[in-house]
C-alpha cells in the first residue's frame, strides 16, 4: 500500500514538474538562473575575502553552476520578453543582440578557463575567478538596468 502511494506520488510529481517549468515565464527563469550565478559568486567571494577557508571542491561547484548559466542564458531572452516580472533586462539586449552574445561568449570562455585552471589555493582562485567577475560586471553594465534604490 505504502509502495503504491509512493509510486503514484512520484508519477504525479513527474507529471507536475514539467508543468511547473512550463508555467514559469522566461523572465522568472532567467531571474532564478541569475540568482544561482550570484550564489556561486558568493561562495567564491567568501573564500577570497577570507570569510571561508579555501575549498577546491566548492570552487569547482561554483564553476559548474556558471557553466550552466552560460549554457542556458542565451535562450532566456526571446523577443517579446522585454518587459514583465519586474525584469531588469535592458532593451539593448534586443537592439544589440550581437553585443549581448559577445558578452555571453566572453563569460562562457572565462568560466571554462577558470574550470580548467582548477585552482588549488586562494591566490589561484582569485586569478581564475577574476575574469568571470569582470564578465558579470561588463554584461550588466551594458544589458541590465539599474535597480532604483
Amino acid at each position: 500500500m505504502a509502495r503504491k502511494s509512493l509510486i503514484t506520488g512520484s508519477l504525479a510529481l513527474l507529471l507536475f514538474v514539467p508543468q511547473a517549468w512550463a508555467s514559469e515565464s522566461v523572465q522568472e527563469q532567467r531571474h532564478d538562473l541569475m540568482e544561482t550565478a550570484k550564489d556561486a559568486a558568493k561562495a567564491i567571494g567568501g573564500m577570497l575575502k577570507g570569510e571561508q577557508p579555501f575549498d577546491a571542491a566548492v570552487a569547482m561547484e561554483s564553476f559548474s553552476t556558471w557553466e550552466n548559466v552560460a549554457a542556458k542564458a542565451g535562450d532566456l531572452f526571446p523577443e517579446g520578453s522585454e518587459t514583465g516580472y519586474d525584469t531588469e533586462a535592458k532593451e539593448t539586449i534586443w537592439t544589440d543582440r550581437e553585443g549581448f552574445d559577445v558578452e555571453l561568449e566572453t563569460f562562457s570562455m572565462a568560466v571554462t578557463n577558470a574550470a580548467m585552471a582548477a585552482p588549488q589555493n586562494v591566490e589561484e582562485l582569485k586569478a581564475a575567478a577574476g575574469p568571470v567577475f569582470d564578465a558579470c560586471k561588463s554584461c550588466h553594465e551594458g544589458y541590465r538596468v539599474e535597480d532604483q534604490n
Binding site: K38, A41, K42, L48, C136, K137, E141, E146, N149
Partner: protein, 291 residues
C-alpha cells in the same frame, strides 16, 4: 527650479556686483608653493584617485556634455595640448584651478569641476599630478563654450557661491592621530570626491555637510545615490572588508554588481593599493552614521 530661485539668483547677482571686490577670484602666488621636486609616479596615483578621466575622457580630450539644472557644460580638454588643452599651464595654474577654482585668465570655475573636494588636496600632490599629466599624449580637440542660462552664465556670481561653499578644512573633524583614518579621509573628502555624489545638495547646489555621505537624489537625474555612512540605511551591515572588496571587485556583500556612475569610480579605486581601499573603509566606518 522655480521662479523663487531665479529671483534668489538675480538677487545674488546684484550682490555679486555690490560685493565686486569680494567676488574677485582668489589666487595663491609662486611664493606659496612648497619647495617640492615633482614625482610623476605619485602623480599617477593622484590622477587615478581623482577620477579625472570619468569626466574629461580617457585621453583627457574633453568635449563631453554634462547636463545640469543650470544648463549644459562642455567638459574642457585637459590633455597637454598647448592650444586646445592645458599644455602651457604652470604648476601654479593647476594648483589655483584645483584648490581655489580660479582660472589662469582671472575667472571662476563652476563647481561642476569638483574643486570643492579637490581643495582639500595637498599642494605637493597637485604638483605631482601636473608632472604626470605632462607625460600624457596631447590631443588637439577644441571644445565649445558652456551653454548656460542667465544668471548662471555669469561666472562672477560663482564668487559668492564659493564664499558659501568652498571650504578647505576637513568635513568630519576627528582623530588626526590615526594615519589609516587620515589617509581614508584624504581620499574620500579630497581626491576621491565621494561627497560630490553621496552627499545631498541644498537649493543653491552646495553640499549639505550635515548630511555628509548620507545619500540623496542622483545629481545626473534618475534614481538616487546610496547612503554610505554606517547607518543601517547605509553600509551598516557591511564590514570594512566588504567595503574594501566592493571597491576592488565591484561586488556588494550580496554579490550583486556595481552599477551606474559608481562603475568608473570603482574601477579607478580598484587600481590603487589595497591599503588605500582599507583606509577608505576605515574612514567610512568611523564617520557619524546618518539615516
Amino acid at each position: 527650479m522655480g521662479r523663487s530661485i531665479k529671483w534668489l539668483l538675480a538677487g545674488g547677482l546684484v550682490l555679486a556686483f555690490v560685493f565686486w571686490p569680494l567676488t574677485q577670484p582668489v589666487y595663491l602666488s609662486l611664493a606659496d608653493l612648497p619647495d617640492h621636486r615633482a614625482d610623476p609616479v605619485n602623480g599617477e596615483q593622484i590622477f587615478i584617485a581623482g577620477g579625472c578621466t570619468s569626466c574629461h575622457g580617457d585621453r583627457l580630450e574633453g568635449g563631453q556634455e554634462l547636463k545640469s539644472d543650470f544648463g549644459t557644460f562642455f567638459v574642457p580638454n585637459i590633455s597637454p595640448d598647448p592650444d586646445t588643452g592645458i599644455g602651457d599651464w604652470s604648476d601654479l595654474d593647476l594648483v589655483n584651478a584645483m584648490m581655489l577654482g580660479s582660472s589662469p585668465g582671472g575667472l571662476h570655475y563652476y563647481p561642476s569641476f569638483p574643486y570643492t573636494s579637490y581643495t582639500r588636496m595637498k599642494v605637493q600632490d597637485i604638483i605631482d599630478l601636473k608632472a604626470w599629466l605632462d607625460t600624457l599624449e596631447p590631443v588637439d580637440n577644441p571644445v565649445k563654450p558652456h551653454d548656460l542660462g542667465f544668471p548662471w552664465s555669469v561666472r562672477r556670481a560663482v564668487g559668492l557661491w564659493k564664499m558659501l561653499y568652498l571650504e578647505q578644512g576637513p568635513v568630519v573633524p576627528g582623530t588626526g592621530s590615526d594615519p589609516v583614518y587620515e589617509r581614508g579621509r584624504y581620499l574620500v573628502e579630497g581626491a576621491g570626491h565621494c561627497g560630490e555624489c553621496h552627499t545631498p545638495r541644498g537649493i543653491l547646489g552646495g553640499l549639505q555637510d550635515a548630511r555628509w555621505l548620507a545619500g540623496g537624489p542622483n545629481p545626473d537625474g534618475e534614481g538616487s545615490v546610496p547612503n554610505i555612512t554606517s547607518h543601517k540605511n547605509g553600509l551598516g551591515s557591511w564590514s570594512e572588508a566588504d567595503i574594501a572588496y566592493y571597491l576592488e571587485s565591484g561586488f556588494t556583500p550580496d554579490f550583486d554588481t556595481v552599477g551606474g556612475s559608481m562603475v568608473k569610480v570603482q574601477e579607478h579605486i580598484a587600481q590603487l593599493p589595497e591599503s588605500d581601499r582599507k583606509a577608505i573603509a576605515a574612514y567610512l566606518k568611523s564617520i557619524p552614521a546618518l539615516p
